[in-house]
């Protein structure tokens, strides 16, 4: 049992590979489902979620933290799938949303720029120069997004366990390599990892419920024991506390929950 994320640029046949891997291993292949699930669950139009995950945050986003909130919703939905195991996720940012779980097999598929330009020209019926600039713009946008929100460069190879150049290895080769890698011990989702996934899912779920009250709330969970950390003022903290009482009833799997507020240091009166 494994969880595989496939990150891809446009026209790198990532979807094909993902579907191939899923069908060969008998796993579920997901991408848009996650967005649908999140938009269903949190009553947000899917288009907003797509934009949240695709575009770099605007200035307004940076003030309102709207983007972080949407991403928390998507992460929560993705983890709900991931904790059951046996999935291939080829939507955006899988490698980042699940980066805390080392056992998740994180694959990046890249393609030669020239072949991508040709594909874009065919699809958009456009000239080479324009196709090239469209692809570069899209790449740039995604790169900016990841850097802004998570401080990592998606082109940094160390984020992935496997980097496949699709031009040379082709779709079939890629499927074989990924399936073989998924069978390695390092990517087996054991009971312990599953607990980790469940805890992360739980933390995300709690966080997504609290974002309205405090956009910078941080939530961690360990064996169902949840710590909510906030830097807000006392009044807001009490509101959060009231919400926690409700959440314990609402969300399954919380054994204990605790609120931590900002430390107030005594002044140096002498």
């Amino acid at each position: 049992m494994a969880v595989i994320t496939i990150s891809r640029g446009s026209y790198s046949k990532g979807k094909e590979v993902a579907e191939g891997v899923a069908s060969k291993l008998g796993y579920m292949c997901i991408s848009r489902e996650v967005l649908l699930e999140a938009s269903d669950h949190f009553n947000i139009p899917e288009i907003k979620l797509v934009r949240a995950i695709h575009d770099a945050p605007s200035i307004l986003d940076r003030v309102t933290h709207g983007k972080e909130a949407y991403i928390a919703y998507i992460q929560s939905a993705l983890l709900e799938f991931a904790k059951k195991g046996e999935i291939v996720y080829h939507g955006l940012a899988g490698h980042i949303l699940l980066r805390e779980i080392p056992q998740v097999l994180k694959v990046r598929i890249i393609a030669n720029l020239d072949s991508r330009v040709v594909a874009e020209m065919e699809r958009e019926k456009t000239i080479k120069k324009e196709a090239r600039s469209l692809i570069l713009k899209d790449d740039q946008e995604r790169r900016k997004w990841t850097k802004r929100l998570y401080g990592v460069d998606p082109w940094d190879a160390s984020l992935y366990d496997l980097l496949i150049c699709i031009d040379k290895i082709k779709v079939h080769g890629a499927i074989d390599i990924i399936c073989q890698a998924a069978s390695y011990e390092a990517f087996k989702i054991t009971k312990k990892n599953q607990q980790q996934l469940s805890d992360l899912a739980l933390a995300c779920q709690v966080k997504s419920k609290l974002l309205d009250l405090d956009s910078k709330v941080a939530v961690t969970a360990e064996f169902g024991n949840v710590i909510v950390r906030t830097k807000t003022d006392d009044r807001k903290a009490r509101k959060l506390e009231e919400n926690l009482r409700v959440l314990v009833k609402e969300i399954e799997g919380i054994h204990n929950i605790e609120l931590r507020t900002r430390e107030m240091r005594p002044s140096a009166d002498a």
Binding site: E222, F223, N225, I227, D234, R235, L244, R245, V248, K249, H255, N256, I257, E258, L259, R260, T261, E263, M264, R265, P266, S267, A268, D269, A270
Partner: protein
């Protein structure tokens, strides 16, 4: 009108820098003071000699002597012996206890650092609260505030007042005598106590316990896990416990179920109290586990461990006579502040188990190892009395439930009292300078072995000394360069010339209160005294009174839990910031009214 010179601009920049650093606390306040001490002579705003003149100032020497005298009094247990007769007089009524202890604390605080007096009384107040079943939150705040107010009773009661004469000397104004402030302090203490006796039940938390009872049934589960650390249970692992499973350690049980194994007994005859976190749990092992009913039951079910109905193995070793829990409050100047529990390693150093931490009205139970400790955090510790006793020397913690008798030198109590009296007589009768008298008292205590010279050195808080000594040159620069006069004229100009005395004094009082809430009390005094003296001179008001208001109002720090005394009592009193805002906010207003009225009626 003063001209705005380059020097004035430079001093203004330094003042802004100091205030900015005080607020953001990128470096500690005493380091800010040292920074001032170094930069000012480099900018030629003070001479090198003036830069370090603070160390030989009356204020610094007086503070050192007051701290040593306080340590001496503490060492002899003389203060703890005061508690019993005081409580006898107070009887069982809550208000009478508040009055009696508050008056005593205020009295002691007038000759000791406020925080020292507050720390000394913490265990006694805890005992009273337990014995008479009065909520601690009803007692601690009034008494803590009295400790702060008591600092205004004499000129050595708090650092800003000690500092005052040195700051006035720059203006050739006559110094204040030891008891010059006493009438004001007296009214302040009385009004503080009266406020809590009359309005205490409305402004203090704990009186509204109905609110907590009203919590609906469906939240009760959470409250159980939230506000309660549970109790001790005895459990036993079955004889096939380790079969077909990964080894289970004590640490894992704690992380998974928030339970603490405080003792363990393996066959044939191995019993360990406070086993190390890495210890693996074997078959047929008896465990003494601290935890809530809910978590213990969950652990028993999931790990297949049997909960015993009655105490068997640990009946003796963990009986109330041999072991228990205490609440340990992180002491002021404890070396544990700023460290987390992992670094402090209480487990290995003292053989005790931290069960929970109480901070800002919230109980922390999870991931305690990562909690950074601060003054006033109350840690619930479990251990054998013998081991808990080792924590009692006060270096790290103040135990609110004292175990046995402290190591004091009661036979030296007479000497301690004698030398305090000698110092007072020298001040009052012979009118010798404050620092000389106090140092005589401190030296007397050392010579009569109330405390050793090393203990005296250790008791001195060097942070306070450097804070005072380092900020004095900033005061000198503000005055010498004409900055204080310049600001004073600007402010008065903006106010439109003639300002009635009472308005000016009130404005100074409010300004000082705001400053002391934001920056350190000493910093506020050093910055404001030259300023207000100039303002008073220009407005034709008594400059000494203006300075006195600054010295007093910098003790008006009740609204935020940032004053050291408030921070210390916050944990054990289970107060939240909002409690200080409510009860302290009103007292702050009363403070200003009483102070201004007394000065206006009796001093002007």
């Amino acid at each position: 009108m003063e001209q705005l010179t380059t020097e004035i601009i430079l001093v203004l920049c330094m003042i802004c820098l100091a205030i900015f650093l005080f607020i953001v606390e990128w470096v500690r306040v005493d380091v800010v003071a040292i920074l001032m001490m170094v930069i000012l002579p480099l900018l030629h705003l003070v001479t090198p000699k003036e830069a370090f003149v603070g160390f030989s100032s009356n204020a610094v020497i007086s503070i050192i002597a007051v701290i040593i005298i306080g340590a001496g009094l503490d060492k002899t247990g003389i203060i703890n012996r005061l508690v019993t007769p005081v409580l006898k007089i107070a009887g069982n009524s809550s208000s009478r206890i508040v009055i009696a202890i508050s008056l005593t604390v205020a009295g002691i605080s007038s000759f000791m650092q406020n925080i020292g007096a507050a720390a000394l009384f913490l265990p006694a107040i805890q005992r009273v609260s337990k014995r008479l079943k009065i909520p601690l939150s009803q007692l601690l705040m009034p008494i803590g505030f009295s400790a702060i107010l008591g600092g205004t009773l004499t000129l050595v009661g708090c650092s800003p007042l000690i500092l005052l004469n040195d700051l006035l000397a720059a203006f050739n104004l006559p110094p204040f005598q030891l008891f010059d402030v006493t009438p004001i302090g007296f009214f302040l203490v009385l009004s503080g106590i009266a406020y809590f006796v009359i309005f205490g039940r409305f402004v203090l938390p704990g009186a509204t316990s109905q609110q907590e009872e009203q919590l609906s049934e469906d939240t009760k589960d959470l409250d159980d896990s939230y506000a309660d650390v549970g109790k001790l249970h005895e459990l036993r692992t079955p004889d096939n416990f380790t079969h077909y499973r990964e080894p289970l350690t004590i640490e894992e049980l704690r992380i998974k179920y928030l339970v603490h194994v405080v003792a363990l007994s393996e066959p044939p005859h191995l019993t360990i109290s406070n086993p190390s976190p890495e210890k693996e749990i074997r078959d047929n092992t008896d465990l003494a586990v601290y935890g809530t009913e809910k978590n213990i039951n969950r652990m028993a079910e999931e790990e297949e461990i049997i909960i015993k109905e009655t105490w068997e193995t640990f009946k003796e070793t963990l009986s109330e006579e041999s072991a228990g829990t205490v609440e340990a409050v992180v002491a002021p100047r404890s070396e544990l502040t700023g460290k987390n529990l992992r670094e402090t390693n209480l487990h290995d150093r003292f053989g005790v188990t931290p069960l929970a931490i109480y901070r800002h009205g919230r109980m922390l139970k999870m991931d305690l190892a990562d909690v950074t400790l601060g003054v006033g955090d109350a840690i619930l510790l479990h251990g054998t009395w013998k081991r808990l006793k080792a924590l009692q020397d006060g270096r790290f913690f103040i135990l609110t439930t004292p175990i046995d008798v402290e190591e004091t030198k009661p036979e030296k109590a007479l000497f301690a009292a004698l030398w305090l009296t000698v110092a007072l007589v020298m001040i009052l009768v012979f009118k010798i300078q404050l620092s000389v008298c106090l140092m005589t008292g401190a030296l007397g205590m050392i010579l009569t072995r109330v405390l050793t010279i090393d203990e005296a050195y250790q008791s001195v808080d060097w942070r306070t000394i450097f804070l005072l000594a380092g900020l004095i040159p900033l005061g000198i620069a503000t005055e010498k360069t004409g900055t204080a006069a310049w600001i004073a004229h600007q402010v008065l100009g903006a106010l439109g010339g003639s300002v009635p005395t009472i308005v000016l004094l009130t404005v100074i009082g409010i300004l000082s209160t705001i400053f002391t809430l934001v920056i350190s009390n000493v910093g506020a005094t050093v910055l404001l005294v030259p300023l207000v003296v100039n303002m008073a001179l220009a407005a034709g008001t008594d400059p000494r009174m203006a300075a006195l208001i600054v010295g007093l109002a910098t003790s008006n720090s009740f609204m935020l839990p940032t004053h050291q005394v408030n921070a210390l009592y916050m944990g054990p009193g289970h107060y939240r910031s909002v409690d200080f805002m409510k009860a302290g906010g009103i007292l702050s207003i009363i403070f200003i009214i009483v102070m201004i009225t007394t000065i206006y009626l009796f001093y002007l």
